[in-house]
Symmetry: C2
């Protein structure tokens, strides 16, 4: 008789965003007149830029004629797309070979699937709070152990607290771990790691022969040029790190779906040497995946053109202005506010020692504003709250006015 | 120290099609003047139809304006897309709820990922020969055991031989198995299961509380109306079967990427009851996947419109005419030929007791025609050969002429 993967039943709760949607649904049903202002999910709201739209149309037209139609593409992505990505890295001094870049349908699938090339007994460390996909996919793979409802932790996952005390960047693990997930600019805290901070983890990884999974999905939001946009800007990172990135927030591709992973040939692993993880990820992708959509890649290529990059910078500037509006308003209310300067997320301490979900309900009920409870990202997120700058300017402004006028602090 | 998933090293050889590409590359380099005629990979060659092109363009345009732009969609696919798919099933008498249909980026990811919701010790049975993804993904998940280079089999996989003697549809397993992969119309043999044949497996699955993974990616090629296009046309299948399908061959979406899986609520599993596998697949998709591209889904919706369906039928008729040309030519040469009447693949016995890869090299060297060695699909495929009808008419005709004139039988 067939039986289920028992690890699914170890998942502590439904995925965070469905629970947010459920509570919003209940509220909307009870208050049919209320205008709900959504600063919850990090979902883009502004249209694709003209160059990207033209690129997508051209991609469609290529498939409309017999001469230019193409079927299956390379599992790793179209070579011109990988060349364009390599050029972007080269501008920051990072040289990558085309066989080190793997185009995909987004950072979420890559950050979920990457763990599958590692052994089931590897010990995983995550920033706490963190994007839930890192922990959940490792739970499903059997690396997490049991969930303790008191500590809100899985007993085999190493949680690295990110708090106001350490500027939301974790200390190095004091014990041995095998795989470390880092996200910078961080979702949810909006903190951005410095080169020195990343260097510490690269040194740790090389000493412990661990692998860093570096999620750089928000790197385009970095404005301070001294901050690294890629972990490979740090000496030695190619020997120990995989990097994941996405077009979702750069080009408004949350629904269009395009991302990429970098698995350097120099990346070493104890039981396979350099090149082994590159080979395994290639095998994983060629077995489970059939390449990113050719139409979508045509749009991605356009986003990486000179015109496309300039236009996408306009999108990023728009969302960063939103972030500044949110930050300023919350600070004026005397709240403790973090992030939002080199990242699209504003992270705040819930007032008066409130718990995250309680503040979620309060903000929704009083100001009709939806945010994301910090506790949904891990136990150290308890008492914190995330506001997303992805939204139309007028919604952001309405939300800020409503918070100022209606939130009882 | 990080270590690799050791199951990757149990994979017997590179994925079939990369090896085909390698040998063709070597030949092309040695014979730069030769015109190579490719009937190997089942890759579509004809342009998208006008309705689909219009649908894709409209999908792009929706993202170009602030009023109609959308970001993240439903993990399970846009509701109108699932409604359209449900209507197609209803035409064959199969009633499905929208919560039973999961839109994806293709049948390959779905048929690769579906095993991950089952326990690692489940025993898997596959048709032999079969699409390599079924076995390879189970090897990577640790269900296959060790590969025996003599039998060309993994010791924990149950191989169900499909040969000329049984009309290329397997007998029921004599031992107990937990998960059965069936593909009809079959890749690679082109055989199509009757209702009676599928009923046997449904009865077996219900008796053994096993689950059938039914790959119907080629169902649109069925011309004989008495043959089932969905396993759910068979009584009791909803209690024991998952079905996978794709837009790749229907609409020419091999590079565009769109597919779907059906996981019925009635599907039962011993340790979770009815609905459990539906819930697990939903959790799997919402954790590892962010929905199929919205642009691509707009094209898929157009393919399912009345006009789109009529146009896509034209594509299918075109490829089926190709199949008839290949079949007829090979039969005239006195070869043993199968499939190609309700499926886009023609399956033939290599002449004079030749092995599959030897015939591959012979056909390439003598006729400059690329096919796919049957042995690449499993041990019972040894001595057989697959020719794909996906190609421009003139290539198919040139290939047939070249085989007739140059192949030394």
């Amino acid at each position: 008789m067939a039986t289920i993967n028992p690890n699914y039943d170890k998942l502590a709760a439904g995925y965070l965003f469905p629970e947010v949607a459920r509570r919003v649904g209940v509220f909307a049903e009870k208050h049919p007149g209320a205008k709900i202002l959504r600063l919850g999910i990090g979902d883009t709201t502004e249209p694709l830029t003209p160059a990207v739209v033209a690129g997508l149309h051209a991609g469609v037209d290529r498939l409309a004629s017999r001469e230019s139609y193409t079927g299956y593409g390379d599992y790793e992505g179209d070579p011109p797309m990988r060349e364009a990505l390599a050029r972007i890295y080269a501008q920051r001094g990072v040289e990558l070979g085309l066989d080190e870049i793997f185009v995909s349908d987004g950072a979420k699938p890559d950050s979920g699937n990457i763990q599958s090339i590692f052994a089931a007994d590897n010990v995983v460390a995550v920033q706490d709070p963190a994007y839930p996909v890192y922990v959940d996919t490792n739970v499903i793979a059997g690396r997490a152990g049991r969930f303790d409802p008191v500590t809100q932790q899985y007993d085999r996952i190493v949680y690295m607290p990110c708090t106001a005390q350490n500027g939301f960047f974790p200390e190095l693990p004091t014990q041995h771990v095998d795989i470390v997930y880092l996200c910078s600019p961080n979702n949810p805290t909006g903190a951005v790691a410095t080169k020195e901070q990343l260097s510490g983890f690269v040194r740790y990884a090389r000493e412990h022969r661990a692998v860093v999974i570096f999620d750089a999905a928000y790197s385009a939001f970095i404005r301070d040029d001294a901050l690294p946009r890629s972990i490979y800007e740090v000496e030695g990172a190619k020997q120990c790190a995989i990097e994941i990135n996405s077009f979702s927030k750069i080009a408004g591709f949350t629904g269009v779906r395009l991302g990429w992973a970098v698995v350097p040939q120099a990346l070493e692993i104890e039981d396979g040497g350099a090149g082994k993880l590159n080979q395994l990820w290639r095998r994983r992708q060629s077995t489970f995946f059939n390449g990113a959509s050719n139409v979508v890649q045509a749009g991605g290529m356009a986003a990486l053109s000179e015109q496309g990059l300039a236009e996408c910078q306009g999108l990023i500037d728009y969302y960063m202005r939103n972030a500044a509006i949110i930050r300023t308003a919350l600070e004026e209310l005397g709240l403790d506010v973090y992030g939002g300067d080199n990242a699209p997320y504003v992270w705040m301490k819930a007032p008066n020692g409130m718990k995250s979900w309680d503040f979620f309900d309060k903000l929704l009920t009083e100001a009709h504003v939806v945010g994301t409870p910090g506790a949904g990202f891990g136990p150290s997120g308890e008492g914190y709250f995330r506001l997303s700058s992805f939204g139309h300017r007028e919604s952001i402004e309405q939300a800020v006015v409503s918070i100022r006028e209606n939130l009882r602090l």
